[in-house]
């Protein structure tokens, strides 16, 4: 990237972070808008984590939800864990019940930061562990194995007792962790700025990683592992590093997500979350940091909008307001991706492509095609003739 482009990039990203910081001025911390903004930021963090493996290293990871789930479940479990008042043993109150008089085990000043770091480190180790047997896999094989491993973890989390199994583990008000004396409620100012800080740090880290020696080496591995090896890149070691970094960010994102959703539910950690994150990258342009942000904004916001009541046409009644079923968003994701593949196969904000990233002829053809869709009758020009 040229120096000018780089400056534009920094400027854009700084503007994004600033915009997020300014949202509460207009909307406060409670309600639909800040909540959606937070979800977007958390997903953007995870998308950037996935980007390390998919975008930089070029391996299609279809099991990223594992890190999200692990980070989330570790956070919730450690926050609800109490010591049994009689026997002193560790208990995880499942199903929303709380034990009267029981002491929380992991509530001490700064404990959430510790839990956050721990969620990251555990997921980092998980990433390395998952990476070891798959070091020599590429392409579809790597994708299938990660998909399978995520499914195994999903089934485990859904059936294990300590995760609440098919039930949800709720963070009741006493369970919510404290930071600098403030409760990290999902609609609190302190939580908002914690997410903003992690979001900003992840963006800065991603850019530095991409432009660093390590990032360059990962790109080389993506483009030609054999040639990278011939240049003296220790390919396996760098791949494991990428897995570790990616897992770390995923765990952090998962932990923040647990606070956002005020609990953990294994049912919500299905393969679709992995696919959604991959879609965020594809939409924005695989390998591009700005693209990952754009993808998260569009897809997460769309998902939230579709949860709202929208006008439906019902025969006999006319327009009625009701919400789409939650699965409907995947219909739209699919449509978006099909359109993307047709018109901008490299994504909306690709990092670099040979030649002009968006040739003007294509732009014109594209807008003509779009307008012709709405021209069902004869066009104005034809009609006037």
């Amino acid at each position: 990237m040229s120096r000018r482009n780089r400056r534009v990039e920094w400027f854009t990203l700084a503007a994004v972070c600033l915009a997020v910081a300014l949202v509460p001025l207009f909307y406060g911390f409670r309600g639909q808008v800040p909540s959606t903004v937070l979800k977007i930021c958390i997903y953007a963090v995870m998308a950037l984590g996935l980007h390390v493996v998919v975008g930089l290293t070029g391996l299609l990871d279809l099991g990223y939800v594992t890190f999200m789930a692990t980070g989330a479940v570790l956070t919730v479990v450690s926050m609800v864990a109490v010591a049994d008042p009689e026997t002193g043993t560790l208990i995880i109150p499942v199903g929303g019940r709380s034990l009267r008089g029981a002491e929380h085990l992991f509530h001490f000043p700064g404990s959430y930061l510790l839990v956050l770091a721990l969620a990251g480190l555990v997921c980092s180790a998980l990433g390395v562990l998952r990476g070891l047997p798959t070091l020599h896999l590429t392409g579809d094989y790597y994708a299938i194995v990660t998909l399978g491993m995520a499914e195994i973890m999903y089934i485990w989390y859904r059936t294990a007792e300590w995760t609440g199994g098919p039930q949800s583990l709720w963070l009741n008000p006493p369970d919510v962790p404290t930071l600098f004396g403030y409760k990290l409620y999902y609609d609190s100012a302190i939580y908002y700025f914690l997410v903003l800080m992690v979001f900003t740090a992840t963006i800065i880290g991603s850019i530095h990683l991409r432009d660093s020696r390590v990032g360059r080496a990962l790109s080389a591995i993506r483009l030609d592992p054999t040639a990278a090896m011939a240049c003296g890149v220790p390919v396996s070691r760098y791949k494991l590093t990428a897995f570790a970094v990616s897992g770390f960010i995923g765990g952090i994102g998962g932990s923040l997500f647990a606070l956002w959703s005020n609990g953990f539910s294994a049912i919500g950690m299905e393969v679709w979350e992995s696919i959604l994150l991959v879609c965020c990258l594809v939409l924005g342009g695989i390998g591009s940091v700005r693209g990952a942000l754009l993808g998260s904004v569009v897809l997460v916001a769309l998902g939230e909008i579709l949860r709202q009541k929208v006008p439906h046409y019902s025969s006999g009644v006319g327009l009625v307001w009701k919400a789409w079923p939650p699965e409907a968003r995947f219909l739209f994701y699919g449509l978006i991706l099909v359109a993307l593949m047709r018109f901008r196969p490299a994504g909306v904000l690709p990092d670099r492509v040979a030649g002009d990233p968006f040739p003007p002829e294509l732009a014109r053809a594209w807008s003509e095609r779009a307008t012709s869709l709405f021209r069902l009758g004869p066009s104005r020009k034809e009609a006037s003739r």
Binding site: S219, L223, T226, A227, A228, A230, C231, G232, V233
Partner: protein, 238 residues
């Protein structure tokens, strides 16, 4: 003269398939040695085995007297053995400059690297003009130069070249060979694999002819050019 690189009865291949069936050759300090042979004779496999990219099943490979058989490629590169692989294998989405910087991946002496990059641009002026261009959009000849430059910034003491003239016009072939001879004159030991047997043997000190995974013939370049069998099989005399 001392042997820099020495292969002793190397047997190597892919999976259970043996491609090299006992290859022995040596390269001395400052020499330019050519390997010629038919398609599929095992020339590329030989270079890959030297670089630790194809497992050696038996035999040894010595570099400066040290056994480097089956060492990880990273360690072999660190010792000063660099390969320009067949078909260039540039990092297509990285710029020319970034490709060259990847070549210097193991070097920590930043300022010396800068100097070597400058030297590369002197040697290949086209690359200097196209520093910021993505390597994938270079022409075939420019790609070959970029691949050679990428290997050179690693400061190898021995350079392995796999078919540098592949797909190049006669003029570019001459240019590439001029560069190879110049590098050799400046002290880089070179092991060159070529289909262009005439050119290769003309500029090489010594040559090896490979046939089905074995060395069939060896000798000084000029002698091989005169050899009836070589003339018939590789130089197109009938």
């Amino acid at each position: 003269m001392t042997d820099v690189l020495r292969l002793e009865n190397v047997v190597a291949g892919y999976g259970r398939m043996r491609i090299l069936k006992g290859v022995s050759l040596q390269v001395s300090q400052g020499e330019l040695v050519a390997i010629i042979g038919a398609n599929g004779a095992g020339k590329t496999t030989t270079l890959m085995a030297i670089c630790g990219m194809v497992p050696v099943m038996s035999g040894r490979i010595l570099f400066h007297g040290e056994d480097i058989t089956n060492l990880p490629t990273v360690d072999i590169v660190r010792r000063g053995l660099t390969q320009v692989p067949e078909g260039r294998r540039l990092f297509s989405d990285l710029t020319v400059l970034e490709n060259l910087e990847m070549g210097a991946f193991q070097r920590r002496d930043r300022s010396a690297v800068e100097k070597d990059l400058e030297a590369c641009f002197q040697l290949f002026p086209v690359l200097g003009e196209r520093k910021k261009q993505l390597a994938g959009s270079l022409s075939g000849g420019e790609q070959q130069m970029c691949a050679m430059a990428r290997a050179l910034v690693a400061r190898p003491s021995v350079l392995l070249l796999d078919e540098p003239s592949l797909g190049l016009s006669p003029i570019l072939v001459r240019q590439i060979f001029d560069v190879i001879e110049e590098l050799n004159r400046e002290g880089t030991t070179i092991l060159l694999v070529e289909q262009n047997a005439l050119k290769a043997l003309q500029c090489a000190n010594r040559g090896y002819v490979m046939e089905t995974g074995q060395v069939a013939l060896a000798g000084p370049g000029r002698d091989l050019l005169e050899d009836e069998k070589v003339k018939k099989a590789y130089l197109g005399y009938s």
